[in-house]
């Protein structure tokens, strides 16, 4: 019973002083979280702590807003217009700032324009070309997507996928036919066929690039 009463008292205090509550959360985030050992798999880096801090602060401000008494309405038409404009500038400003501080990519992505002499170089350009899009599903050398398997070491496994099919043949077949040619176990069959979309030279270039490895 005493415990419940004390808990209730704490809750009331927190609600009465939401900014103090936010400060408490900030202390937890910046003094507590860094103590979590890396090996636990729950060690949040500085960027994530900043992210969480934003919520703590916003939450504190929001609960402070709930405690606000009745504010008087502006008295003149211009006062209304001015206060409305202020709300809009603040809201839109906040959103634009958030959009601008979020990590930005470079402009534009080196892609279709890259032309090199070696087939492997041309294959690399194709792999990272947004309109071909291999990288959107495949990781290569540490960057790329995760829907498909990491292709950094595909040269080593390609020859073992189907008995009697060489690495070259398998990779070319997979590029040409997509998932309908062969589906690596554990992955969804979503790879589109590129046989029509890419010329034979382009497919050969991709093969050379994949066989060379990162």
């Amino acid at each position: 019973m005493r415990m419940a009463a004390r808990r209730r008292w704490w809750c009331d205090q927190l609600l009465r002083h939401p900014l103090a509550g936010a400060a408490g959360l900030l202390i937890l985030i910046w003094a507590g979280l860094p103590l979590v050992p890396e090996a636990s798999g729950l060690h949040f880096s500085v960027r994530y702590r900043l992210f969480l801090s934003a919520f703590a602060v916003a939450g504190g401000l929001f609960f402070a807003l709930l405690r606000l008494e009745r504010v008087p309405a502006p008295r003149s038409g211009w006062g209304v217009l001015g206060s409305v404009a202020a709300v809009y500038l603040a809201a839109v400003g906040l959103l634009v700032v958030v959009g601008s501080v979020y990590p930005q990519y470079g402009l534009p992505r080196a892609g279709s324009a890259v032309e090199t002499d070696s087939p492997a170089g041309r294959g690399k350009a194709l792999f990272w070309d947004p309109s071909v899009g291999c990288f959107q599903c495949h990781t290569f050398g540490g960057a790329g997507g995760q829907r498909g398997p990491d292709l950094s070491r595909v040269a080593a496994v390609a020859g073992t996928r189907q008995p009697g099919v060489s690495a070259q043949e398998y990779i070319l077949g997979h590029i040409g036919g997509g998932s309908s040619y062969f589906t690596v176990p554990g992955y969804p069959p979503i790879m589109p066929p590129f046989g029509q979309r890419l010329s034979p030279e382009q497919q050969e270039a991709l093969l050379a690039f994949l066989l060379a490895g990162p």
Binding site: L15, S40, G41, L42, H43, F44, S45, R47, Y48, F51, L52, F55, G59, F62, F63, L65, L66, L68, R70, V71, P72, A73, P74, G77, V80, L81, S83, V84, V87, Y88, A91, V92, G93, L95, V96, V98, G99, S100, Y102, P103, Q104, Y105, P108, R109, S112, W128, P130, S131, G133, F135, Q136, C137, G142, A143, G144, G145, Q146, R147, P192, R197
Partner: protein
């Protein structure tokens, strides 16, 4: 030779023009859907407030109508001038669609004016007036579906459809998803704009009766907005699923590659909308006698919502796209979500967070209804800051529409028509989130500048002189309720 546009560039210019047209058109098409319903409710429930809501909103629609057309014309001019190859591609394939569209614009215009100007003449023949309103909505929705077909086609052209097969081009894989999503969202948007209008009128109202009415109108507009808002995550999911089935690469580009950061901001936007809505209910609750007993439950709701929002927005990593490597000297672990928390970055956790927000909002409304059942609502006595919530909400809603629209267009990557007409202009690439935010922010403010103009011109300038004002308004309200206003008496 395509023309470019100085300073802004062709892409940003067409972006802003198209966006303004879309905002205005969404309102002009969405609002009449519930205007007619409200007019009907006014008759059915014998509640004059519904009639007045319908009528004042329709006046805003009429004023906005010509600005919509002007923005549409600007959009078309830039399209033809700066993107001639795309224009001719679309016109050769969708010719009859554009002709039909042009004809429907004419019909729609006639219907808008007929519906508005016959309001009093047909005050005694409500069924005829309602029929006009229904016709207006049927034509308006048909127009929207036509243009949705073209817009959807640009992202998901049907594979192997012959040039002459118009229906196959129209019924392309994402048409139905886009239709559904836009139809619902237009109502949502209209509802929030009605609430904005009501808030503006509430704050400038001079007498108690008006304040009570606009308080009610704001609440009702907000209710329309929220009620349909809850359907949108599902509609969005259906739409995204269509895109995913059409081409997994589009989905990847959006959800994991260049546009992934855009979706983090989307989380923020939708979270702000839900928080704003619940904050408004929090204040609404306090104008019900005995409503205070529900405030404790609502505080818990708010706390849970913040947690849900944090989960929704938690990015899997702080890399802007799939090709960017961490900057020199920064280890990958500094940018990636910790292993054990990785599930927070996945779709499953985010879907749960959204669902929680929707359910909590339901509960808030349920509590509101219970409070209403046992205590009288003191309309007009709501704390004025509530009106700023109603003003804030449409700002976020409009920004959301702008950003989501940008995602839909940018999903085409360097194509005008996905894998068919390549974008060879200097603006073929996806702009950064920062640039996109600036354009969307400017577009949002521009739209509200138009709205402020409309509200001011339509409702503040033409008011009777100061002394007469209050009685004039009251007379008008009563007239609207009973149908005896001026010319209304001798109309058929």
């Amino acid at each position: 030779m395509p023309v470019d546009i100085p300073y802004l560039g062709a892409r940003t210019a067409i972006w802003i023009a198209a966006q303004q047209h879309l905002y205005l058109a969404a309102f002009v098409l969405g609002a009449p859907l519930f205007i007619v319903i409200c007019e009907y409710l006014g008759v059915r429930l014998c509640d004059a407030r519904y009639e007045r809501l319908a009528r004042e909103t329709m006046k805003v629609v009429v004023l906005a109508y010509s600005i919509t057309a002007a923005a549409g014309a600007a959009f078309t001019f830039i399209l033809v001038g700066a993107y001639p190859a795309l224009t001719s591609h679309l016109f050769t394939r969708f010719g009859p669609v554009f002709w039909l569209y042009a004809a429907l614009i004419l019909v729609e215009t006639l219907l808008v004016y007929a519906y508005w100007y016959s309001w009093e003449p047909l005050a005694r023949a409500k069924a005829a007036h309602l029929a006009l309103g229904v016709a207006l909505n049927v034509v308006g929705t048909a127009m929207m579906f036509l243009m949705n077909a073209v817009g959807a086609y640009m992202l998901t052209p049907p594979a192997g459809a012959a040039e002459g097969d118009l229906w196959a081009l129209m019924a392309n894989p994402s048409w139905s998803g886009l239709n559904l999503h836009r139809f619902v969202a237009n109502i949502t948007f209209g509802g929030f704009i009605v609430a904005l209008f009501a808030a503006f009128m509430f704050l400038t109202a001079r007498d108690e009766e008006d304040r009570a009415f606009y308080d009610w109108m704001g609440f009702t507009g907000n209710l329309i907005g929220v009620g349909t808002l809850m359907l949108l995550p599902l509609a969005g999911y259906i739409y995204a699923k269509e895109l995913f089935l059409y081409d997994a690469q589009i989905a990847t580009f959006m959800m994991a590659d260049k546009l992934s950061g855009f979706f983090v901001v989307q989380g923020l936007l939708v979270g702000l909308i839900f928080l704003g809505v619940n904050y408004y209910i929090w204040l609404s609750m306090q104008r019900i006698e005995g409503g205070a007993r529900f405030l404790r439950q609502m505080r818990i709701t708010f706390a849970v919502m913040f947690v849900a929002l944090a989960i929704w927005m938690m990015p899997q990593h702080f890399l802007p796209d799939l090709a960017t490597q961490p900057p020199a000297g920064v280890p990958l672990t500094a940018l990636v979500i910790p292993e054990r928390a990785a599930f927070l970055g996945l779709m499953m956790a985010k879907a749960l967070a959204v669902t929680a927000m929707i359910l909590l909002t339901f509960l808030t409304y349920a509590a509101y209804l219970r409070a209403q059942a046992s205590g009288a609502v003191r309309w007009g006595e709501i704390a004025p800051q509530s009106q700023y919530a109603l003003i804030f909400l449409p700002a976020v809603v409009v920004y959301t529409m702008g950003l989501m629209g940008a995602i839909r267009e940018l999903a085409r990557q360097d194509w005008h028509v996905y894998r068919q007409v390549r974008d060879v202009s200097p603006y073929w690439y996806a702009p950064t989130l920062g640039y996109t935010s600036a354009v969307v922010g400017a577009g949002t403010l521009l739209f509200f500048a138009f709205l402020a103009f409309i509200f001011w011109i339509g409702f503040k300038l033409e008011r009777p002189a100061a002394g007469e004002e209050a009685t004039g308004q009251r007379r008008k309200a009563r007239a609207a309720a009973t149908g005896f206003a001026g010319a209304g008496g001798d109309g058929k």
